[in-house]
């Protein structure tokens, strides 16, 4: 009870109170007066009596201090005092504080931004109970790593005949066309089973989920669930449910709205629309459709399946039971399920795959990302530590006085740390703003080039707040503790006598501060090299081309299937457009293909020589459907043989011809002439396809290799088949323009008019110069973003290091004013002094480079996998980065060195 009362009384006393202080003053004064009166009565003079009274009383200030300690809770009390004092120091040195906060804001902001990404990828909670989902996988036991997706009948059998799952969902993706003005925007939609939302465990924001009837193969009910943003755009209008969205030129009735922030089974990205499995045949495109048969076909394995296990069922237990289920399916449908084993395993947060995958790649990515931004913060801290030390020398006298007056060292260190914490938290707050602002910028710059919505909340959540706070505390310890310890241990006597300056200790020229600068230079070098490498990658990717000239080349992507054209109508429309383009004035030639070099999608197929599988196994090659004149339009020379003919371009009768490129020719026909030889597509492990898919084809031409991705170092193998034999609705038309480059933009309009003249309803997805298409590429965007970010980090580090070098050198010069003055008096010329200071600067820089260079090379080697096509020892970077650093350090040393040469013996005398 007494203790509680005491605590309450003391807590009340924590708050500073003028009244209480005045009362104590009065009490002490009364005491001293009474005491003095007493002494006076004994015969002392009033003055002597008062002196005697103070002696008897003891140190007045000390008593007051311990009285105040008793009054409040001492630690809280001193904290409040330190904070008040810290703010006062802040106001006294606003420039210093502003620089510290700014430097920290940059350092912490960079880390907050990076962590926001890492958090979204790895840690942020997923919608509903998506974290509990496990993936269901089907795997051919006779072949290693041979996984495949699920057919609808298999999925339905597993879902309806098991007691393992509380819910089992199936989904796949489709690219559909949504009309925007007069072009068609191609977006991803997710085609899902009826229990998709209930299995993930989220209630819809409005409306209803799909029904079992809508899920049935062939049901083809035009209903859709839309993403939250659309509903928001509609002002949450209740009439929105029941309205229609136009998908592939067909009206779909909106029956539900997904909840806000819903991202399905993965984190981060979300489609804009969900459609029921029953519309599979009408919306799912060739690429996602596997072998082109309907949803009801048991051999059409095109669905990804995941589910939530019943409570108490472990993954291991489920796998044991699934063995039985696999066997039952194998027995019931041997043709489709031979050797297939079902397994479940936890799912990746970010990818949807037919085979088990985890997020270890992301963890590695994060493990690379965080240290890079961490290094910036570390340099920032070293810098602030340096500035604090320099300022500490200025505060040496203050510290000496405090120590002389009986301030404990522990107390002083605490005071200094509190000051630093205040700065760090201000820096962290600014960094938080900076971080989330830059994240918003990144997301905004990315959104227009994605066919998906990035569901990325850049505003900081609890995780980010905690981590940012941790950064602040950590950085305070890094930049604050050592200086605080050092500052609080001055030589009291010397410092009280001297006006500051280290002249009495000339032996310690290369102290803690020298090493801090060495550290900064070393880390800056690492960041500069990393940044430089990525900048080189981005540069190379930016100017690179797939192997043909971009100039005067236009691209128009069309997809008649998005207007619900069937094959014959689609063929007719595309053929008419191509004819029209070829006849347009100013057009040199026109052709088309099924995938754009340096585009986002690449379709690969294994190619082999019939009957020679054992010695010359299948080679994987990029599979492209092309028209006649395709190579001519791109400006590629046919090396041997010929291009496809118009007949082969148009005739739907299989023509059994193929063109291969040099890399594939080298691999399949190492020492033979490929012309006239036959090749065929090898079977893949995902079930039987149409038999004529694997018929032999005659090689009629050999063309030069192309690079598919901006990051490919060498051309990949390609196989080309004529558009007549294989229909693809999504085609890219290429137009080679006559003459000057200026004609490109005008020609774009001509192309648009030509297409519209043929068919006003034909969905045009893209109409752009090939150069423009290349610049907009997702991969290039990522490389450029990485290059810019890392270069910015590197330059930031460079700037900080230069400031550090400058600060230390200026400080050392000012400390050695006397020494330099004496040297000058003894006949040293300014050049000698300049050399003296520069030499010492060179020593610091050299030491930093010696430490930093091997570190930088090590990091470069670690980055090898990420710097496509650029050697980790890229000469430009390896030479340039240290050169820039040396120049910056030399400049930062030169300025104080120049100042040193202007010291006169008189200055030295005055410095005494």
């Amino acid at each position: 009870m007494a203790r509680l009362r005491m605590l309450l009384a003391r807590l009340g006393g924590v708050f500073p109170s003028r009244r209480r202080d005045e009362e104590l003053d009065e009490e002490v004064r009364a005491h001293l007066d009474l005491l003095a009166d007493e002494h006076q009565r004994r015969g002392l003079s009033r003055a002597d009596a008062e002196r005697a009274a103070r002696r008897d009383f003891g140190g007045v200030a000390h008593v007051k201090e311990s009285y105040r300690d008793q009054r409040g809770v001492p630690s809280l009390e001193t904290l409040a005092q330190d904070v008040r004092y810290g703010i006062r120091m802040w106001r006294r040195a606003p420039g210093f504080s502003a620089v510290v906060v700014a430097v920290l804001a940059i350092g912490i902001g960079a880390n907050t931004a990076m962590f926001t990404i890492v958090d979204a990828l790895l840690f942020r909670a997923m919608p509903g109970r998506a974290d509990e989902l496990v993936g269901l996988y089907s795997h051919d036991q006779t072949k290693p790593d041979s996984y495949r997706a699920f057919s609808y009948p298999n999925y339905a059998d597993i879902r309806d005949g098991n007691d393992l799952f509380d819910g089992l969902l199936a989904h796949t993706f489709a690219l559909v066309g949504l009309p925007v003005d007069d072009v068609t925007r191609r977006v991803f939609v997710e085609v899902v089973s009826s229990d998709f939302f209930s299995t993930i465990g989220v209630p819809l924001a409005a409306g209803r989920a799909f029904t079992l009837e809508e899920e049935q193969p062939g049901a083809n009910a035009a209903v859709a669930i839309v993403g939250y943003p659309r509903w928001k755009d509609a002002g949450f209008n209740p009439a929105f449910i029941g309205s229609t969205v136009r998908v592939n030129a067909r009206d779909f009735t909106v029956v539900g709205v997904a909840p806000e922030g819903f991202t399905g089974t993965t984190a981060l990205i979300t489609p804009e629309l969900w459609l029921p499995l029953g519309v599979f045949e009408t919306v799912v495109n060739d690429v996602f459709r596997n072998n082109g048969t309907g949803l009801g076909n048991r051999s059409n394995a095109s669905l990804n399946v995941s589910g939530r296990l019943k409570p108490g069922v472990s993954v291991a237990a489920a796998n044991a039971r699934l063995q039985l289920l696999s066997k039952r399916l194998d027995e019931a449908y041997p043709a489709e399920n031979r050797h297939q084993l079902l397994t479940v395993s936890p799912m990746s947060r970010v990818s949807i795959s037919t085979e088990p995958s985890d997020d270890s790649g992301l963890a590695v990515f994060s493990a690379v990302l965080m240290p890079l931004s961490g290094a910036v913060l570390f340099i920032a801290c070293l810098n602030i530590a340096n500035m604090s030390l320099a300022r500490g020398s200025a505060r040496r006298k203050e510290m000496a006085i405090r120590l002389a007056l009986g301030g404990g060292r522990r107390r002083l260190v605490r005071q200094l740390l509190t000051e630093n914490f205040l700065l760090a938290f201000a820096g962290a707050a600014a960094g938080l703003l900076l971080g989330s602002w830059s994240m918003r910028l990144i997301v905004a710059s990315m959104s227009p080039i994605l066919p998906l919505k990035l569901q990325f909340d850049a505003s900081p959540n609890v995780n980010v707040l905690i981590v940012t706070g941790a950064f602040a505390v950590l950085s305070t310890l890094v930049f604050g503790l050592a200086p605080a310890l050092k500052i609080s241990r001055p030589d009291v006597v010397t410092d009280l006598k001297d006006a500051g300056g280290d002249s009495t200790r000339p032996g310690r020229r290369f102290g803690a501060r020298g090493w801090l600068v060495v550290g900064q230079i070393a880390i800056s070098l690492v960041l500069l090299v990393a940044g430089g490498l990525f900048a080189r990658v981005a540069m190379k990717a930016g100017v690179g081309d797939p192997g043909f000239r971009y100039d005067g080349l236009l691209l128009a992507s069309v997809d008649p299937s998005l207007a619900a054209y069937d094959e014959s109508r689609g063929r007719a429309a595309i053929r008419a457009v191509l004819e029209r383009l070829r006849a347009t004035p100013g057009v040199e030639s026109a052709g088309m293909n099924s995938q754009i070099p340096f585009g986002e999608f690449h379709e690969g197929r294994p190619v082999e020589r019939p009957g020679r599988t054992e010695s010359n196994g299948p080679r994987s090659a990029t599979f492209t459907i092309v028209s006649a004149d395709y190579f001519k339009t791109l400006g590629l020379r046919v090396l041997r043989g010929r291009e496809f003919t118009r007949t082969e371009e148009e005739s739907p009768i299989p023509s059994r011809v193929a063109i291969i490129d040099e890399p594939l020719a080298r691999r399949l026909f190492p020492n033979e002439d490929p012309l006239g030889q036959s090749i065929r597509f090898a079977e893949r492990g995902d079930g039987p396809g149409k038999p004529d898919d694997h018929a032999p084809m005659e090689v009629v031409g050999v063309v030069p290799g192309l690079r598919d991705r901006v990051t490919d170092a060498a051309p990949e193998a390609h196989v080309y088949v004529p558009s007549g034999s294989t229909y693809r609705a999504a085609m890219n038309l290429y137009v080679r323009v006559h003459g000057a480059l200026t004609a490109e933009a005008e020609m774009l309009d001509d192309v648009r008019r030509a297409i519209r003249a043929v068919d006003t309803r034909l969905p045009v997805l893209d109409l752009i110069t090939l150069r423009g298409f290349h610049d907009r590429g997702l991969l290039l965007w990522g490389l450029r973003a990485a290059g810019r970010t890392l270069t910015a980090f590197g330059l930031l580090a460079l700037l900080l290091a230069a400031v550090g070098v400058y600060g230390v050198k200026s400080y050392l010069v000012s400390c050695r004013t006397r020494e330099i003055g004496i040297r000058m008096a003894l006949g040293a010329r300014p050049g000698d002094i300049l050399w003296l200071v520069l030499r010492e600067g060179a020593r610091t820089t050299t030491l930093g480079l010696l430490i930093g260079f091997p570190l930088a090379l090590g990091v470069a080697v670690l980055l090898r996998g990420a710097i496509f096509g650029v050697s980790p020892f890229d000469p430009a970077v390896i030479v340039l980065a240290p050169a820039i650093l040396v120049t910056a350090a030399a400049l930062a040393t030169y300025v104080p060195a120049r100042r040193a040469t202007r010291v006169t013996p008189l200055d030295a005398l005055r410095a005494e």
Binding site: A2, R5, M6, A9, R10, E23, L24, E26, E27, V28, A30, H31, D33, L34, L35, D37, E38, D56, F57, G58, G59, V60, H62, V63, S66, Y67, D69, Q70, R71
Partner: protein
């Protein structure tokens, strides 16, 4: 052995001394308490008079004494402290404890 210099006040005993003084003399200001203790302890303990103020505050926070402003003999405003009922009880208990302690230590020292 030469006469020893007066020792500092043993830790924890000051509170007891203050309480006893207030019980004996009745309400007193800080100066009165300090003088009384000083007189009693002359030659044995040195007391910085100021140190009794934190002690007075501590006792007051524990509810063992109470304070009020009044006027001293020479017409100065002064804060007067007086022992409370809880303080009396505390003093009795602590005195007993102290005596037992001292007796025990004396016995221990005499034995050898």
């Amino acid at each position: 052995m030469a006469a020893r210099a007066p020792a500092d006040v043993p830790y924890g005993t000051l509170d007891l001394m203050v309480l006893k003084t207030l019980q004996t003399l009745g309400p007193q200001h800080g100066y009165g308490v300090a003088r009384r203790i000083e007189q009693m302890a002359r030659g044995v303990l040195t007391l910085n008079q100021g140190t009794i103020y934190p002690a007075l505050l501590r006792l007051e926070q524990q509810g063992l004494i109470a304070s009020s402003w009044g006027t001293s003999d020479n017409n100065r405003r002064a804060k007067f402290y007086e022992i409370t009922r809880a303080g009396e009880k505390h003093l009795t208990a602590e005195s007993k404890h102290w005596t037992r302690m001292v007796t025990m230590i004396s016995r221990l020292l005499e034995e050898s």
